[in-house]
C-alpha cells in the first residue's frame, strides 16, 4: 500500500513537451483514473511513475521516499500494459510466476501464490497454454495475475481494456473494480474512455494538452467542471455551453430573444467575476433542461435521437448553436417544432469565455 506523490513532474522529448509540470497526490488505497484524449500524456505520466521513463524534472515520492531516479525494479510497483506484454515463449503459469522467480522465491511460495491469484481470477484452465493462444480478455487476466502475484505497493494500468470489445470491457471493468475493492491497493488507471473513468475512479484526473485540467471525484468532474474543456469532454454528449451576455441578473443569449434569469445564488459570483457585466457561457447538462411551455429559452428542434428510455433533442437556439436536451419519450417532438425550456437552477454552471475557466460561487465569497 502506498501514497504516490508527483511534484512538478515534467517530461520533454527534445523540444516536444509531453507532460507539463504536474502536481498530483494519490492516496493510499485510492483508485485514481487518468482520463484524457489521445496524445495528452497519460501513458507518459504513468511510465514516469513506474520508472520506465525518466522525468525531465520534478520529484516522485512513493510513501514519502524519493524514487525519482530509481530503477523500476526498485519501486515496488506493478504495471499492466495496454497490449499485455506477456512473455510469448513461456506458459501462462511461468508468466505469472516470473516476478516471483526473478526474486528467487522458493518453489512452495511460488506455487502457493500463483494458485492464489489463479483462483482469484479464475484462470486455472489456462495455465499450460502459451499467451499467444489466448483471447484478449484471457491475456488481460493473465497480465493482471502477473501484476497481482507480487503484491506490489501500487498498480499502474495503461488502458488495460483498450483492446477488448465493448461487451467484454464492461465485465472486465467490474472485475478490476472488484479486485480493487478486495485488495484495496493504490491504483492508477489510464483510459481515454470517460464512461470507464466515471464507473471506476475514486477520483478522476482529467488531462489535456499535456497538463491536468481538473482533479476530482466523478461527480465533481461531471457536475462542477473546472473549465470548458472538462465540461465538453465529460459526458456524452458533453455539457451544453450557450454563449450570452450577462448584466443585472440576466443572461441575454446570442441570437434570438432568449433571456435567462440567473438564479439568485449565482448573481453575486457572476457580477464579481465579470466586473458587473460581460460575456459568459451558460453551461448545463442535457438532463438539466426542463421543457415547459413558459420556459425562458426557446429553440427549434433540429434532430431527435431515441436513446432507450428517453429522447435526445438537438435544439437550435441560435443560427448554428446546437444544444442537447434530454426529454421524456411521451413528449412527441417533431423536427421543426419550437421547444421552450428552463434550466434546473441547481445544475447550471457559468464559464468565462475569455479564460475558459469556470466561475464559482466559492471564489466570490
Amino acid at each position: 500500500m502506498a501514497t504516490i506523490e508527483l511534484q512538478k513532474v515534467e517530461k520533454r522529448f527534445g523540444d516536444f513537451q509531453a507532460v507539463k509540470p504536474m502536481d498530483l497526490t494519490i492516496h493510499d488505497g485510492e483508485f485514481v483514473v487518468l482520463l484524457g484524449p489521445s496524445g495528452c500524456g497519460k501513458t507518459t505520466t504513468l511510465r514516469m511513475i513506474s520508472g520506465l521513463e525518466a522525468v525531465t524534472s520534478g520529484t516522485i515520492l512513493l510513501d514519502g521516499r524519493n524514487v525519482t531516479w530509481l530503477h523500476p525494479s526498485e519501486r515496488d510497483i506493478a504495471f499492466v500494459f495496454q497490449l499485455y506484454a506477456l512473455y510469448p515463449h513461456i506458459s501462462v503459469r511461468d508468466n505469472i510466476a516470473f516476478p516471483l522467480r526473478a526474486q528467487g522465491e522458493s518453489k512452495e511460495t511460488i506455487e502457493k501464490r500463483v494458485k492464489e491469484v489463479v483462483d482469484l481470477l479464475q484462470i486455472g484452465h489456462l495455465l499450460d497454454a502459451r499467451p499467444g493462444k489466448l483471447s484478449g480478455g484471457d491475456q488481460q487476466r493473465v497480465a493482471l495475475a502477473r501484476a497481482l502475484v507480487r503484491r506490489p505497493a501500487a498498480f499502474l494500468m495503461d488502458e488495460p481494456l483498450g483492446a477488448l470489445d465493448a461487451d467484454f470491457r464492461e465485465s472486465m471493468r467490474a472485475e478490476i473494480k472488484q479486485l480493487h475493492i478486495d485488495q484495496h491497493a493504490t491504483t492508477v488507471y489510464v483510459t481515454h474512455d470517460q464512461v470507464e473513468a466515471m464507473a471506476m475512479g475514486d477520483r478522476i484526473v482529467v488531462m489535456s494538452d499535456a497538463e491536468i485540467q481538473q482533479i476530482g471525484t466523478p461527480s465533481e468532474v461531471y457536475y462542477k467542471p473546472a473549465n470548458v474543456f472538462v465540461a465538453r469532454f465529460i459526458g456524452s454528449p458533453g455539457m451544453n455551453l450557450a454563449r450570452g451576455h450577462y448584466s443585472e441578473g440576466r443572461v441575454r443569449l446570442k441570437g434570438q430573444n432568449n433571456v435567462y434569469a440567473v438564479p439568485d445564488d449565482w448573481q453575486q459570483a457572476l457580477g464579481k467575476a465579470l466586473g458587473g457585466s460581460g460575456d459568459v457561457l451558460v453551461g448545463f447538462r442535457p438532463e438539466a433542461a426542463r421543457i415547459s411551455a413558459d420556459g425562458p429559452i426557446a429553440g427549434e428542434v433540429y434532430a431527435t435521437e431515441l436513446q432507450g428510455a428517453y429522447v435526445m433533442l438537438y435544439i437550435n437556439i441560435n443560427e448554428d448553436e446546437i444544444i442537447h436536451i434530454r426529454a421524456e419519450r411521451i413528449h412527441q417532438h417533431q423536427i421543426g417544432d419550437t421547444v421552450r425550456f428552463d434550466i434546473d437552477p441547481r445544475m447550471v454552471r457559468f464559464f468565462d469565455p475569455a479564460s475558459e475557466r469556470a466561475i464559482t460561487r466559492e471564489a466570490a465569497q
Binding site: P72, S73, F79, F81, A85, P99, R150
Partner: protein, 318 residues
C-alpha cells in the same frame, strides 16, 4: 452485329494458337532452360555419383564402371584410417562451431546497442566473412609463419626456435598434437563468427522492447533477463546459425587445403580433404570417393535433422 463484322476474322483454332504462343510458350521458354540446366549439372551428377559409389571405377582409367555393390561403403567403414579422419572432422566441427557460436553471440550483444561508431564496427567485424577462403587461408599461412609471421610476434615470440610453429604443430621444435588443427579452427572462428553475429543480431533486434520493460517491472536482474528472455527469444535464429556452420564444418575443405593440405602428417586431414585426395590427387579412385561423399552427405542430413527437429519443437512451443 456491326461490331463483330468489323473485327478481324479469326477461326477459333487460330485464336487458340495465338493464345498458346503468347502464354504457355513463354512460360515454357523460361522454365525449360533452367530445368535442363538443373538436371544436367545438379540432378544428373547427384544420381550418377550415387551409381558410381556402387562401382569400381576410376575417371582416368579407360574402362567402364564395374558394379561391386556395397563394397566401397564397407571398405570405407572398415578402414581405421577413415575413422580417424571422421574423428578429426568431428573434433574440428565441435571446436570451431562451439567457439564461433560463443564469440558470435558475444559480438552480437556488444554491437546490439547503438553507440558512436557501432555501425562502422559492425561492418569491420563482417569483413573476414566476405573474403575468399583461399585468400584467408593464404594470408593466415603467412601470419602463422614462425619466422616473419605476425601471429608469433603478437604472442611475444620473436625467436622462431622458441615459439610455436602452428601449422607444423610444433612448439619450440617439439611436437604438440592437435596444434595445427587448433590453428585451422582459430582461422575458421575468425572468419565465421561474424556470420553467427549477424544472425543473432537480427534475432536480438526482433525482441520487442516491452518484454524488457515488463521484466524491469517484474524486478528481473539483467542476468535473469538474459537467461529467461534474450536467450529463448534468439534461440531459433541462433540454432539456424549453428546448423549452417555445422554443415559447413563437415564439408570444410578450402581453408584447410589452403593452409595445411591436411598436414603435418594427417593431423588436419578432414574428411573433405581426404575425399579430394582419393578422388583426384594421384589416386583417382572415383568409385570409392563417390561412396565416401555419400557417407558424408548422410551424416550431414542426419545431424541437420536433429537440429531441425529441435528447432521445430521450439517453434511449436511458442
Amino acid at each position: 452485329m456491326s461490331v463483330q463484322a468489323n473485327a478481324p476474322r479469326l477461326s477459333s483454332q487460330e485464336r487458340a494458337r495465338r493464345r498458346y504462343l503468347t502464354d504457355r510458350a513463354i512460360v515454357n521458354l523460361f522454365i525449360w532452360p533452367t530445368l535442363i540446366l538443373l538436371i544436367a549439372i545438379n540432378l544428373f551428377p547427384l544420381f550418377y555419383s550415387l551409381y558410381l559409389g556402387f562401382t569400381d571405377y576410376s575417371a582416368i582409367a579407360r574402362q567402364v564402371p564395374v558394379w561391386v555393390g556395397f563394397k566401397n561403403f564397407s571398405d570405407i567403414l572398415n578402414d581405421q584410417q577413415m575413422w580417424k579422419y571422421f574423428a578429426t572432422t568431428g573434433k574440428y566441427a565441435l571446436a570451431s562451431v562451439g567457439l564461433q557460436t560463443l564469440l558470435g553471440f558475444a559480438l552480437a550483444m556488444l554491437v546490439r546497442e547503438k553507440f558512436r561508431g557501432s555501425g562502422l564496427l559492425t561492418t569491420l567485424i563482417l569483413i573476414p566473412m566476405m573474403i575468399s577462403p583461399v585468400v584467408v587461408g593464404l594470408f593466415w599461412k603467412l601470419m602463422y609463419n614462425p619466422t616473419f609471421g605476425f601471429f608469433n610476434y603478437l604472442l611475444g615470440f620473436t625467436n622462431p626456435s622458441t615459439g610455436p610453429d602452428m601449422l607444423a604443430s610444433r612448439f619450440a621444435g617439439k611436437v604438440v598434437p592437435n596444434l595445427a588443427l587448433w590453428a585451422v579452427v582459430l582461422v575458421d572462428v575468425w572468419m565465421w563468427s561474424p556470420f553467427v553475429m549477424l544472425l543473432v543480431l537480427s534475432g536480438l533486434k526482433a525482441i520487442p522492447d516491452y518484454l524488457y520493460e515488463a521484466a524491469a517491472i517484474d524486478r528481473a536482474s539483467s542476468w535473469f533477463q538474459f537467461w529467461r528472455i534474450t536467450l529463448p527469444q534468439v534461440a531459433p535464429l541462433l540454432l539456424i546459425a549453428v546448423l549452417f556452420r555445422t554443415i559447413e564444418a563437415f564439408k570444410a575443405f578450402d581453408l584447410v587445403m589452403g593452409m595445411t593440405g591436411g598436414g603435418p602428417g594427417d593431423q588436419t586431414e578432414l574428411i573433405a580433404v581426404n575425399l579430394y585426395r582419393q578422388a583426384f590427387l594421384g589416386q583417382w579412385r572415383t568409385g570409392r570417393a563417390s561412396a565416401l561423399a555419400y557417407i558424408v552427405l548422410i551424416i550431414i542430413i542426419a545431424v541437420s535433422n536433429l537440429y531441425i527437429r529441435y528447432l521445430n519443437k521450439m517453434r511449436g512451443e511458442s
